[in-house]
Subunit: 302 residues, 2 copies
């Protein structure tokens, strides 16, 4: 599981910072999460293969999370994309994109599917054999979802030498991986745990931006491998968090602690701050495993 931060600053793009966008690589899926203005250039700068992106998840319709989408969709067309593209986002996203494509007489030459969201309850958006993606309803000024990406429980790991030792036929290996007990060639019942070990624990990634302090999300993101939680403000401007429906670094850390996540990544910093290290300092007073997102930074979660 690998996370590439393309942009993680609030509000308006600047010469040296970018609005929200990130790419999650999980079990060979490349998921684009949010798409602020300039995302397509950030994808190029970070050498991410455009064609591998098949799913884009938009948290909400504030510009710093979605103004780069129409340009990316248009560029896919210019690059002669053929692969289908799925866009998941709040109701309205389809009208925003299709209006602009219609007025520029520039229809896509690849299949483009919109999955518009209105539910305020968690909702399964996508799954394949390896991963699933669901919404995490958040509390912001407009309708907003975070996204929870979860690996599915994999097969048990087969100890081939043990299987040979117990004279188990190769045709039964798949049953062993699925956790079943089998009968050896000599007729003996072999309990599964003698020839397999537990599968690698599935990893999960919770993206929660933008949101006010919102403990209601905790049960859903419980024990996540990684939580990205917005922290727009430090304590010095905690008074701005509630009215703007954003969070402080300490509030993000409180969510991380209560949800028992393994690691917290902070981002969506207000551009009024020049030293983002202070976000880590404040968060660490509540939860120790804190990392700071920054544009171009790559996290590997093994």
């Amino acid at each position: 599981m690998k996370l590439n931060i393309l942009g993680c600053y609030a509000a308006t793009p600047r010469s040296f910072t970018n609005p929200s966008s990130q790419v999650l690589e999980i079990n060979n899926n490349l998921f684009l999460i949010d798409c602020g203005e300039g995302t397509q250039v950030q994808l190029r700068k970070n050498k991410i293969k455009f064609s591998r992106i098949k799913h884009v998840f938009i948290s909400h319709l504030h510009g710093d999370h979605c103004y780069g989408l129409v340009g990316l969709i248009s560029t896919f067309r210019l690059l002669n994309r053929e692969t289908e593209l799925h866009v998941y986002g709040p109701k309205g996203i389809k009208e925003i994109i299709t209006l602009q494509l219609r007025l520029s007489n520039s229809w896509t030459n690849y299949p483009l599917y919109f999955h518009e969201l209105t539910s305020k309850e968690p909702q399964l958006l996508y799954e394949n054999e390896k991963v699933s993606v669901e919404t995490i309803p958040l509390d912001h000024r407009i309708y907003t979802n975070g996204f929870l990406f979860k690996e599915k429980q994999g097969d048990r790991k087969l100890l081939v030498n043990k299987a040979l030792e117990y004279n188990i036929d190769v045709s039964l290996y798949n049953s062993l991986k699925k956790g079943k007990d089998v009968t050896s060639e000599t007729g003996e019942l072999i309990p599964n745990e003698l020839v397999t070990t537990a599968p690698v624990a599935p990893k999960s990634y919770a993206y929660c931006s933008d949101t006010a302090f919102y403990p209601k999300m905790i049960p859903q993101i419980k024990d996540a491998t990684v939580l990205y939680h917005e922290s727009t403000f430090l304590e010095d401007r905690a008074n701005l968090a509630a009215p703007t429906k954003h969070s402080t670094a300490k509030q993000a850390a409180t969510i991380a602690r209560e949800a028992d996540v393994k690691k917290l990544i902070l981002g969506h910093y207000s551009t009024r701050y020049t030293n983002i290290n202070l976000f880590k300092e404040e968060a660490c007073s509540i939860f120790p495993e804190v990392e700071l997102a920054d544009d171009g930074k790559v996290f590997h979660f093994e």
Copy 2:
């Protein structure tokens, strides 16, 4: 008259090139012409004062000319702009912007006026005491206008020493500047040309992008000080120009020559070319006064 090129490459923004946008400073007016994705960052990089921009002219609704507008309008709001902003562009531009502002619940806190264009004839868009702006109808795949920015004829230059010599009362100086003959304090009729010289010739700037080879524009841009004309292709791909309704460098130079402009600036290069000097070479074979636009380049026209 000063021209700041923010972006001048066709199609899709890249790590090192930007789509169409430029700022024309003329008689203390700052006009933004086209606004591709990333324009607000280019404005910052080029240290242009956001608040001085009061008029934005959008040639057409292809993404590389307008996808940066909604972000710029939103950023103006975040910067607490109070000055009014006028946007001139094809019909549809208002719907594109207002839909996105409505869905993000982010209305502007400054007066925002849209002037939607549908006419296929030249049209006066704006004028004050010093300058005027009119459309230049172009021939592209969708409805497109260039823009002609013209200084107005200024006052005649008063030769103060001469006026004193002829005993002309100070109260008549303004009449002299306006070209009138006056009577001296000794009752003598003083012909204007004895105490004034001709005003500085007014300058003009014609922006023509995107367009096929379109000689119909020539009478309107006749004798312009500067013509910016798109040149998407070199001769090697002249066959692509007509079907895509773009121009070659030679076609741009032909327009410049026929219109007797003082200087031609080429831009809107297809991103397939790595050496833009070839555009100048080809154009110069037809018209000598050629300059190449490039991102971040500033032209001063004295």
